[in-house]
C-alpha cells in the first residue's frame, strides 16, 4: 500500500486529489450502472405493487382473492383489451380425475392441440399448447423413433399417434422440486401452478419426465377477440411472462362438470375422461376392461392419464 496519509475516521475535510478522483470514478461508475439497468424502468408499467407483494394462493383470504381477480381482470382489459371473467372453481369432493387415450383410434390430426391452444389462451406466436402429438412407427414405444413435426396427411401407413400432455401424476416430481411451493397437487389430482407465485427457476421443467411443462419465455400475445374470457385463476388465465405453466385438465371446465377442451375437439373420439372414484364412470370402465399403460411407469410418478390400444 503506497498510501501515505493517515485516515482515522471517514470524515470529510481530508479530501485530497486521489480521493477526489476516486469519488469521480465511483460517481461515473454508479451513473453507468444506472444507465446499464435503465431498461428495468419499463417494468414499472407492467408490474404493480399489489402484484409484487401478492401472497401465495393458499394464503389468500376470500377478500384477497376477490381483489386479486379484479386486478387480473383489469390487467387483461388494459394489456389485451379483453373483457374476461376470472373465477376459481374448487375441486369437487369425491372426484379424482382420470384420462385415457385410445391409441388405436387417435390419428394424429392435432385438433386437440389446437383446441388446447385456443381454450387456454396460449401465445399465438408460438402456437403454444399443452399437448404434443408424436407420430410413432408401429412396433415401438421408444420416443427416439417419434416425431412431432410431421405435416403429411394422417394416419400414415405403419404409424400410430401418441398425444402427450401433463399426466397429473399422483407422485409428481415437478411438485417435489419446486423451491417455493408454487405448484402443488389438488384434491382432484390436478397439479396446478400459481402463476403469481412462480419465480421461474424452471427446476420443475427439468424434473418432469414427460415434457409437460411450458415456460413463458415472453409475454404471450393474443388478439383481443381471440381471448377466451372464461378463465380460471389456476388454469387458463393469460399467464405472466417468466413463469411456468402446464396442462390443468381444463379445471375451469372440468370442475364445473364439463369435458376438457381437447376431448370435445377430438374428431376420432379417442379421449375418455371422468371421475376415477365413480365406479360407473367411463374412465373406470376403461381402466377395468382395457389393457391400459402409462409412459415411463418405472419412474414411479404414477400418471393418471392412461393409454390403451383396442
Amino acid at each position: 500500500m503506497s498510501d501515505e496519509r493517515t485516515i482515522s475516521l471517514p470524515v470529510l475535510g481530508q479530501i485530497d486529489r486521489r480521493t477526489a478522483v476516486k469519488g469521480i470514478g465511483a460517481t461515473l461508475g454508479l451513473g453507468a450502472f444506472g444507465v446499464a439497468i435503465s431498461p428495468l424502468a419499463r417494468m414499472r408499467e407492467q408490474l404493480s405493487a399489489e402484484e409484487l407483494m401478492q401472497k401465495h394462493y393458499k394464503e389468500l383470504t376470500p377478500e384477497d382473492k376477490e381483489a386479486v381477480f379484479a386486478r387480473l381482470e383489469r390487467e387483461a382489459k388494459d394489456q389485451y383489451g379483453a373483457d374476461v371473467s376470472i373465477h376459481d372453481p374448487q375441486p369437487i369432493p369425491g372426484v379424482r380425475f382420470g384420462y385415457a387415450i385410445n391409441l388405436s383410434v387417435c390419428n394424429g390430426n392435432g385438433k386437440c392441440v389446437e383446441a388446447c391452444h385456443k381454450e387456454n389462451n396460449h401465445d399465438r406466436d408460438t402456437n403454444q399448447s399443452y399437448i404434443r402429438v408424436f407420430e410413432m412407427p408401429k412396433g415401438t414405444t421408444d420416443f427416439e423413433h417419434g416425431n412431432t413435426t410431421y405435416t403429411h396427411d394422417v394416419p400414415r401407413e405403419g404409424h400410430y399417434y401418441l398425444p402427450v400432455q401433463c399426466f397429473q401424476c399422483e407422485n409428481p416430481p415437478c411438485v417435489d422440486v419446486c423451491p417455493v411451493e408454487a405448484t402443488w397437487q389438488e384434491d382432484d389430482g390436478i397439479v396446478v401452478v400459481d402463476y403469481n407465485w412462480c419465480i421461474g427457476c424452471r427446476y420443475c421443467q427439468a424434473a418432469c419426465p414427460y415434457h409437460a411443462r411450458r415456460f413463458n419465455w415472453k409475454k404471450p400475445t393474443i388478439p383481443a377477440e381471440e381471448v377466451n374470457p372464461d378463465q380460471g385463476y389456476l388454469s387458463n388465465r393469460v399467464r405472466p411472462q417468466g413463469v411456468v405453466e402446464k396442462c390443468h385438465f381444463c379445471l375451469h371446465r372440468t370442475r364445473e362438470g364439463r369435458m376438457p377442451a381437447c376431448l370435445e375437439a377430438c374428431p376420432t373420439g379417442a379421449r375418455i375422461f371422468g371421475n376415477m372414484l365413480d365406479p360407473d364412470s367411463e374412465i373406470r370402465w376403461v381402466l377395468k376392461n382395457k389393457r391400459v399403460f402409462v409412459l415411463k411407469e418405472e419412474l414411479g410418478a404414477r400418471p393418471t392419464l392412461f393409454y390403451f390400444f383396442d
Binding site: 493517515t6 453507468a32 431498461p39 401465495h56 427439468a206 415434457h211 415456460f215
Partner: protein, 427 residues
C-alpha cells in the same frame, strides 16, 4: 506473504477504542485500500467494470422483454447460466483444498495463505447466487425464496437445500475472513475460539455445497444423463481440480504482478492435490462413459449426442472433445515432475484444467441432460449473445470482488496495515 506478528502489545492504541469505533475505521480503511493502486490495477478494474456493466445491461433487457432473449427453450430449459452456476459451486468448494491442509494438518505455509482460498469461496459463491438470479424468470419474486417471508419447500426441494448451503457457506467464509482481517487490523492475534470452529464447519460445508448441487441433478429420475450416483463424487473431484488450479494461478499472478511474497510450499502442496484429483476426475468420467456406452440403449443418447452428435445434431461435440483434450493434457502435465518445476508450464496446466472442467461440468453436463428431451425431441442449444454478455458480466463482477478482497486482505495479513499505524509501511 509471511506474517510479521504485529508487535502491538496490550496497551497499544489499537486496543483502546471500542469495536463500535474501530469497525467503521476498519471498513473505511478497507475501502481506501480496495480503491488504491497503480495504473495496471485501475486498468484492470475499469475493464472489469465495463464488462460487468455490459452484463448488467443485458440482464436488464432480459428481465424486461423476457427470457426469449436467451436461446433456452422448453426443450433445453437450463443453459449457460446454470452451467456456470454448477461450475462456480465447484470453484467455491475447491478453496477448501487449502483450508484442509492449513487447519486440519496445520501446514504452516498453507495456513499463511489460506485466506486466498476463503476469499475465492466468497467471490465464487456470490457468482453462484448471481448466476441463479439471472436464470430466474421472475427475479422480482426473489423474496418467495426467503424462509419465513416466502414459502420454502424444505426439505423436499433440493433447491431449498442449495439456498441454505450456499448462503451458509457464504456467511461462514465472510465471518472467517472478516474476523481474521479485522482482528489483524486491530493488531491483535486472532482468538481461535472465534474462527477455528467455523473453519472446521466450513470444511464439511464445502463438501456439502457441491454434494447438494449434484443432488439437484442426480435426483431427477426423468433425466438419465444426470441420474447417476457418481455425479456428486465427480463434482467434488472436478471441484478439487478447478479450485486449486485457480488458486495456483492466483498465487503465481500475485507473485509476478503484485510482488507478493508467497512461498513455494503451498503451491507445491496444491500441485500434489491436483495430481490426485485430476486422475480421480478422469477415472470417474471414464467409468461413467463406460457404463453409458457399453450398456447402450436409449439412455445413452445423451452421451452420444455430447460426444458424437445425434442424427446430424452436433453443436456440443467440438466443446466436449476440447474439454477432453484439455483435461488429458493438463493431467499429463501435472504428472510430469519436470513440467511442474516450470512455473509457466504449471500455470498452463492449471488453465487447461480449469477451462476443461468449465466445459465438462458446465455446458457438457447441463445441456446433454436436455438433449434429446425427455420425449427424445432434438432441440439444440448454444448461448445467445445476451447470455454470453450476462455470463461475462458475472465473471467480471466475481473477479472484481476477488481482486478487491485480495487488495484488502494481503496487506492486512502481512501486517502492513494496522489500526493507528495506517499507511506506515512496516519494513
Amino acid at each position: 506473504m509471511s506474517h510479521h506478528q504485529p508487535s502491538a502489545a496490550p496497551g497499544a492504541p489499537a486496543d483502546k477504542g471500542s469495536h463500535w469505533a474501530n469497525y467503521p475505521r476498519f471498513l473505511w480503511r478497507s475501502l481506501v485500500m480496495a480503491t488504491d493502486g497503480g495504473l495496471p490495477f485501475y486498468a484492470w478494474m475499469t475493464f472489469l467494470t465495463a464488462v460487468a456493466l455490459v452484463g448488467a445491461n443485458a440482464w436488464a433487457l432480459q428481465v424486461v422483454d423476457g427470457m426469449i432473449h436467451t436461446n433456452m427453450t422448453d426443450h433445453v430449459s437450463w443453459g449457460i447460466y446454470i452451467a456456470n452456476f454448477t461450475f462456480m459451486v465447484g470453484v467455491a468448494a475447491g478453496g477448501v483444498m487449502m483450508v484442509i491442509p492449513g487447519y486440519l494438518y496445520r501446514d504452516k505455509d498453507m495456513h499463511d495463505v489460506v485466506i486466498l482460498g476463503e476469499l475465492l469461496a466468497i467471490a465464487a459463491i456470490v457468482m453462484c447466487l448471481l448466476f441463479v438470479t439471472v436464470d430466474l424468470g421472475r427475479p422480482d419474486r426473489f423474496w418467495h425464496l426467503i424462509p419465513g417471508l416466502g414459502r420454502f419447500n424444505f426439505p423436499i426441494s433440493m433447491l431449498t437445500w442449495d439456498v441454505i448451503v450456499l448462503n451458509g457457506y457464504l456467511l461462514l467464509n465472510l465471518h472467517i475472513c472478516g474476523y481474521l482481517l479485522y482482528i489483524r487490523y486491530l493488531g491483535r492475534t486472532p482468538n481461535p475460539r472465534w474462527y477455528v470452529p467455523f473453519v472446521m464447519i466450513s470444511i464439511v460445508w464445502a463438501i456439502s455445497i457441491h454434494t447438494v448441487t449434484a443432488f439437484l441433478y442426480s435426483g431427477l429420475g426423468g433425466r438419465p444423463f444426470w441420474n447417476t450416483a457418481l455425479l456428486a463424487p465427480r463434482f467434488l473431484a472436478s471441484a478439487f481440480v478447478a479450485g486449486p488450479a485457480f488458486l495456483i494461478v492466483t498465487m503465481f499472478v500475485l507473485r509476478r504482478l503484485a510482488r507478493v511474497d508467497i512461498p513455494d510450499r503451498p503451491i507445491q502442496l496444491l500441485v500434489q492435490i491436483v495430481r490426485v484429483t485430476v486422475l480421480i476426475n478422469l477415472l470417474m468420467l471414464g467409468s461413467e462413459l463406460f457404463t453409458e456406452f457399453y450398456t447402450g440403449g436409449s439412455h445413452t443418447t445423451h452421451a452420444t449426442y455430447l460426444f458424437f452428435g445425434l442424427h446430424g445434431h452436433n453443436a456440443l461435440v467440438p466443446w466436449m472433445w476440447t474439454a477432453v483434450a484439455l483435461n488429458v493434457v493438463s493431467a499429463a502435465l501435472f504428472l510430469l515432475p519436470a513440467a511442474m518445476r516450470n512455473m509457466w508450464l504449471l500455470c498452463a496446466a492449471c488453465v487447461l484444467a480449469f477451462v476443461g472442467i468449465w466445459i465438462e461440468k458446465g455446458m457438457g453436463l447441463i445441456i446433454p441432460g436436455f438433449v434429446p428431451s425427455t420425449l427424445h425431441e432434438l432441440v439444440e442449444y448454444l448461448p445467445s449473445s445476451i447470455e454470453w454478455r450476462v455470463s461475462a458480466g458475472i465473471w467480471a463482477f466475481g473477479l472484481m470482488i476477488y481482486t478487491v478482497s485480495l487488495k484488502i486482505a494481503i496487506p492486512i495479513m502481512r501486517g502492513d496495515v494496522v489500526l493507528g499505524r495506517d499507511g506506515s509501511r512496516k519494513k
